[in-house]
């Protein structure tokens, strides 16, 4: 199968993730959309690795997974703490500071 199709899929996933961050209002869902963007990058990296015939892209994909895991730890800690305070994970409710 032509590897370029995987790139189209990666682009599509990245776009879905990015529009999800802009559209959705729940902090957890926003965060999942960010993870989707990271995974789209991973798919693109692995595809390009296959195209170029070197392993750099696959190695980077592993690093991305580690970074994503670290991000989950920090992100969930912050989101859970704000959820326990406000009993809501909606980002629209966090509006104490305005322009």
């Amino acid at each position: 199968m032509n590897p370029v199709n995987y790139l189209y899929l990666a682009g599509l996933l990245f776009t879905i993730g990015a529009s999800g961050v802009l559209i959705r209002r729940n902090a957890i869902v926003l965060f999942m959309c960010v993870e989707l963007m990271l995974n789209a990058s991973n798919l693109a990296l692995v595809t390009f690795s296959r195209l170029h015939g070197n392993l750099d892209g696959q190695i980077i994909a592993f690093f991305t997974m580690v970074v994503a895991a670290a991000e989950v730890v920090v992100g969930l800690a912050i989101i859970v703490s704000i959820f326990r305070t406000r009993h809501s994970a909606s980002v629209d409710d966090s509006n104490l500071m305005k322009l």
Binding site: S41, F48, A77, S94
Partner: protein, 543 residues
């Protein structure tokens, strides 16, 4: 033979061990070592011993790392010698070493402001700092009251800061996009957490953390996708290799012949990388997090973040543009022109309308990001030196200004609303005079470091053919000067409010931090020549 083995370039029996130059990497290694030591101290020391040991570990680690930077510089690194370390992943050159030195000095001053325990009223009979008693406790809940009564403190802030400093040291030195991405995350993740740890106004603090985290993760996802596209274009994430592929000097392979046909990969990749970096810099249109995060975060953290993040991110931005994309200068310069103009104008104009001193400083930092960008756009050696000098000057003014903000207090903690700063000059002439000095430096009045820095970047930009940018820069400086002067007038020429804030008497920690800020501001303003020479003598970026 299956594809995955073929991709590895044959099935060689052994993987060669990478060669790592530990001596040349020692500034980062010392800081990370101190961070790990801080975590161990947090785990094993009894609660009452933690504060002093954490402060000591942090300061010793930073001092050790700074000594390592000085030793490397005295060996000629950064001026006459440059090197690529860790198999080409980390660069050791003039800009990297200079910025690492600045970040370490900034971190020392920031740790001093973290360690302040005299301005907060005692809780549970023990002195406390600006950080929450127990971050996991719900604000206003029974658990929090118990933690405050027991005199708990979040001494984790010191190791967290050290991890952030380590990432910041790596960020401007990263010579491939993967290292840059990892460094970006290593310094960002601790900062997200630090934002959530304010003792007072915890809701604001948590809100700041959640906003910073979601937007920061969003921006780093863009950075990563940009990395993927550039890897697709060039077949490598090494900055020098990307530049070779762009200029056509790289040996052509079958894959490169097809991917380099597609300029979309290159241009979109560059654009996405720039989004990630401009977000960290706080440039318009990626600035919207700055005021909220600066306002909500604990003020010592705000000072650290405002100063050190900018230094690290501008270092990485310049390395990216100067090492990997000099061949695309005609593509990225117009875009950066637009970003710089927007950043200067929006930062200065929106700052005029602010009523909160921390938000005002946040918008002023956005405007300053624009001024620094004009130096980046100059793309000449003079511009590089000017940007390095500007970052040094700006970071100490910022640290000093936020340290002053921690001292103006009323019963609810820091009094950040501008109206309560009215007449401060009558109540505490010394503190008001110091703050006025910092504001004048922000405004770029002669005899302060801000003037020297602004003059240097504008001169370099004019020499680099960006005269319209300089004109807009000077005009927005004039707008910015208006609101700095307005605060000075408010402090000295209006009557103090009854029941207004008091000025806390700090311990030696904050006093030293403010003192260093004043010294650097005046020193770089009155006798800038030594540091201007130092910044202009640094070697260009290594490839």
């Amino acid at each position: 033979m299956s594809h995955w083995l073929a991709a590895a370039g044959g099935n060689s029996a052994s993987i060669p061990a990478p060669h790592v130059e530990y001596g040349q990497l020692s500034p980062m290694l010392v800081v990370f070592g101190a961070a790990v030591a801080g975590i161990l101290a947090e785990a094993f020391l009894p609660r009452r011993a933690r504060y002093w040991s954490q402060v000591t570990i942090a300061l010793l680690g930073l001092a050790g790392a700074f000594t390592a930077v000085i030793v490397l510089a005295s060996q000629g690194y950064g001026s006459t010698r440059v090197d690529l370390l860790a198999m080409g992943a980390v660069a050791l050159d003039g800009p990297a070493l200079f910025l690492q030195g600045v970040i370490l000095l900034v971190a020392v001053v920031a740790v001093l402001t973290y360690a302040e325990r005299k301005v907060e009223p005692k809780a549970g009979g023990v002195p406390v700092d600006a950080f929450v008693a127990q971050a996991a406790a719900t604000p206003g809940g029974e658990q929090e009251r118990a933690a405050v009564r027991a005199g708990f403190a979040s001494t984790e802030v010191f190791p967290l800061t050290m991890f952030a400093v380590g990432g910041m040291l790596l960020f401007p030195a990263a010579n491939d996009l993967l290292t840059m991405f990892v460094a970006l995350e290593v310094f960002s993740l601790p900062l997200y957490l630090l934002c959530a740890l304010a003792r007072r106004r915890r809701l604001l603090s948590q809100e700041a953390a959640v906003k910073y985290f979601l937007l920061g993760a969003f921006a780093s996802a863009f950075f990563l996708f940009g990395t993927a596209l550039l890897y697709g274009y060039a077949g490598s994430v090494r900055l020098g290799d990307i530049a070779d592929v762009i200029s056509g000097e790289a040996p052509a392979t079958q894959a490169l012949l097809s991917t380099t046909q597609n300029d979309a990969l290159l241009l979109i990749g560059l654009a996405l990388l720039s989004v990630g970096l401009l977000f960290k810099v706080g440039a318009v249109p990626f600035h919207s997090w700055t005021p909220d995060v600066y306002q909500g975060a604990p003020t010592p953290v705000t000072g650290f973040m405002a100063a050190a993040t900018k230094v690290a991110a501008f270092g990485a931005l310049m390395r990216l543009f100067y090492v990997a994309f000099p061949g695309l200068r005609w593509d990225w310069r117009p875009v950066m022109w637009g970003v710089a103009i927007l950043t200067m104008v929006v930062g200065a104009v929106l700052a005029v309308t602010q009523q909160d001193v921390k938000r005002l400083l946040a918008y002023s930092s956005i405007a300053h990001a624009g001024f620094i960008l004009t130096g980046v756009i100059a793309t000449n050696k003079q511009g590089l030196g000017a940007v390095l000098f500007y970052l040094l000057a700006y970071s100490f003014v910022t640290l000093g200004a936020f340290a002053v903000v921690t001292l103006v207090r009323d019963s609810r903690g820091e009094a950040t609303h501008l109206s309560s700063w009215a007449g401060l000059g009558r109540r505490s002439p010394l503190l008001a005079a110091v703050f006025a000095l910092f504001l004048l430096a922000f405004a770029g009045i002669p005899l302060t470091s801000g003037f020297t820095g602004k003059f240097a970047v504008f001169q370099a930009a004019a020499a680099g053919g960006a005269t319209p940018l300089v004109i807009i820069g000077v005009l927005s400086s004039a707008v910015a000067a208006f609101f700095y002067i307005r605060v000075i007038v408010l402090m000295f020429f209006s009557d103090p409010q009854p029941g207004g804030p008091t000025v806390a008497v700090p311990s030696a920690f904050t006093a030293t931090a403010i003192g260093v800020g004043v010294l650097v501001t005046l020193g770089l303003g009155l006798l800038p020549q030594y540091f201007l020479d130092l910044a202009s003598k640094v070697s260009p970026f290594v490839r």
